[in-house]
């Protein structure tokens, strides 16, 4: 059984998405990257469960190739 939630878990998904985009869309690419890194770390700590985190990292990485 997978530890990472695949089914919807956020109430008001549209509202959340707008909040997220509002937070980043006027940032330079550099700052947006910093924002994403911070957000990742904050949420990762909140989740804490190493199995869930590993599955999330794998899921996010899917389809992306190493850059030579």
């Amino acid at each position: 059984m997978s530890g990472l939630k695949h089914e919807p878990g956020i109430s008001d998904p549209d509202g959340f998405y707008q909040e997220l985009i509002d937070a980043v869309q006027r940032l330079s690419t550099e700052d947006a990257l910093a924002f994403s890194a911070r957000l990742n770390l904050l949420l990762a700590n909140h989740i804490g469960d190493r199995t869930v985190l590993r599955e999330a990292i794998e899921a996010a990485r899917k389809g992306l190739e190493d850059h030579e």
Binding site: L33, A34, A37, R38, L41, L42, N45
Partner: protein, 535 residues
């Protein structure tokens, strides 16, 4: 150097120059901190050794400064911790700064009642000097200065070394060779062994300065310090008012330019401020690496210290790891040389210390990757961690300015026996130096003091009062409440003693087995792992 006079140790021309020296049971190549610890350990166990070193003084310039608690415990067994403690500067705390703020502090002393502090800072040349002063008192150690090994030939029952001296070359045959000849090991090269790993693309400028400055001895690590262009900097107090400064310069630098006095002075000035007078004792520029050979035993040749593995200094795991190598190998080699254990026992040296070195390399690599991010993206993450660490304690746990040397817990060792108690100290762990007393013996203050150099059984509970063992390994039995008193219950708690517990401790003070209520046959069976094919 202003604060240190390099000793010159006497060179004795070999009487066998041009010929063959008498066979030695054990030859140690390299009289550095690790080779000397090895010689002292063997001598303590009654085994003679020849130590060959290519020069006649101690470590040139400034390298290792931090010596860890476990190292001090090991040297204590050899009677050489006292001068180190007297000369060294004690510290337990590390403070980590980012830009102009302190992010957090950590304390490395897990138990304030331990015999030794988490660390002392002491210049490597003092360490070697004190080890040499102890070694020359030992008739079993034949220290030969200005004897450089230039070649070797391995045979089925030993090794023949080619040794060069100012008075000519000779052949030194030996049964066992311990290669402690450092990171540029001649033995390793002559045997064609690959030494592979990672080079970190960065330069670190090391400066040792003398200055009068008050304040506690703590490790200070600065990420992106506000005073200068360095990516990071480190500051450590050593003895004699000498301070170690370490500046991270980056990869694309002009080495000669960076080492020019005026540039070094400018960096130091920015860091310590404009007013404090100082004198520069030593400067050097390093790139750091993490490397290892694949196996630490090659038949009759055993590799220890930097000859076997190299780590980046963040974490002080190089010298401290090497001393633990010697501690691990000493008793095993002694038993084999004395014919009391089979040679396969030496494979457990390779197994256990390769495990420990892998842990050291992993920790040093991770720290260096944090300090020197390899790609722009990893730098983004690194900086995100630092930015969050100010406000969020969780991020401080991710900040890695070096995971400092702790003893190896040989959890997976094939020598480990029963694991029937539930304490924090389990088979494979070193015994903690907790307070303890022995009736009528004021020289004993901690558990490690009563263990001696052999195998020890710590016996608890009334059922073990008459326990006796008939073993070739000369096992000492110590009964709680009779032979020692656990001062504040710390020992009982550490092992999780219950019922009629018995703890078997190896000669290197690592726990071998923990039983709840064993019969002698069970204990003897575990000990037979040591004696092996020799029985």
């Amino acid at each position: 150097m202003a604060t240190y006079q390099y000793p010159k140790y006497p060179y004795h021309p070999p009487t066998f120059a041009g010929g063959v020296a008498p066979l030695a049971q054990v030859v140690i190549v390299g009289g550095g901190q690790v080779g000397l610890t090895m010689a002292l350990d063997l001598a303590q166990r009654g085994v003679a050794s020849v130590v060959l070193d290519e020069d006649n003084t101690v470590s040139d310039g400034s390298r290792a400064i931090c010596q860890a608690k476990r190292t001090l415990e090991i040297w204590d067994r050899m009677g050489v911790a006292a001068p180190m403690m007297e000369k060294g500067v004690t510290w337990n705390e590390g403070h980590v700064f980012y830009r102009d703020e302190q992010l957090y502090a950590f304390n490395m002393q897990e138990n304030p009642r331990s015999k030794f502090p988490a660390f002392i800072n002491i210049q490597q040349y003092y360490v070697e000097q004190f080890l040499i002063e102890q070694a020359v008192q030992q008739p079993l150690i034949d220290l030969r200065w200005c004897h450089r090994v230039t070649g070797l030939e391995t045979t089925s029952d030993g090794v023949r070394l080619v040794v060069e001296t100012p008075d000519g070359t000779y052949t030194q045959p030996c049964d066992w060779l311990v290669a402690a000849d450092g990171v540029r090991s001649t033995i390793r090269r002559q045997m064609g062994l690959s030494f592979s790993g990672q080079v970190f693309e960065d330069h670190f400028l090391i400066a040792d300065i003398v200055m009068q400055r008050e304040g506690p001895a703590i490790r200070r690590f600065y990420f992106d310090p506000p005073w200068g262009p360095e990516a990071s900097a480190l500051m450590h107090r050593q003895s004699d008012n000498v301070w170690r400064l370490d500046f991270q310069l980056g990869w694309n630098v002009d080495r000669d330019e960076e080492l020019r006095d005026e540039n070094v002075f400018a960096r130091i000035r920015r860091m310590i401020g404009p007013d404090t007078p100082f004198e520069l004792e030593w400067k050097s520029l390093y790139t750091f690496q993490c490397r290892s050979i694949d196996r630490y035993r090659h038949d009759r040749v055993l590799f220890i210290g930097d000859a076997a593995h190299q780590v980046s200094p963040f974490g002080a795991r190089g010298g401290n790891g090497g001393v633990q190598d010697a501690d691990n190998l000493g008793w095993k080699l002694a038993l084999v040389v004395q014919g009391r254990a089979g040679v396969t026992l030496l494979d457990t040296y390779d197994e256990e210390r390769r495990f420990a070195a892998a842990e050291n390399i992993l920790n040093s690599t991770r720290a260096t990757d944090f300090i020197t991010p390899k790609t722009p993206v990893s730098e983004v993450y690194r900086n995100a961690v630092l930015d969050l660490a100010r406000d969020f304690p969780f991020a401080r746990a991710l900040v890695n300015s070096g995971r400092l040397s702790v003893p190896a817990h040989l959890k997976e060792s094939s020598l480990n026996g029963a694991d029937e108690l539930q304490g924090a100290v389990r088979p494979g762990s070193p015994v903690p130096a907790l307070p303890l007393s022995v009736p009528g013996d004021a020289s004993v203050s901690h558990l490690t003091d009563v263990l001696g150099d052999g195998f020890t059984l710590l016996c608890f509970g009334p059922a073990n009062a008459d326990l006796s063992l008939d073993s070739d390994l000369a096992v000492r039995l110590l009964h709680a409440g009779r032979d020692f008193h656990d001062m504040d219950g710390g020992v009982v708690a550490a092992f999780g003693v219950q019922d009629d517990a018995v703890v078997l401790v190896r000669p290197d003070q690592h726990v071998m087995a923990c039983w709840r209520a064993p019969v002698p046959a069970t204990i003897l069976d575990t000990l037979s792992m040591i004696t092996g094919d020799c029985r």
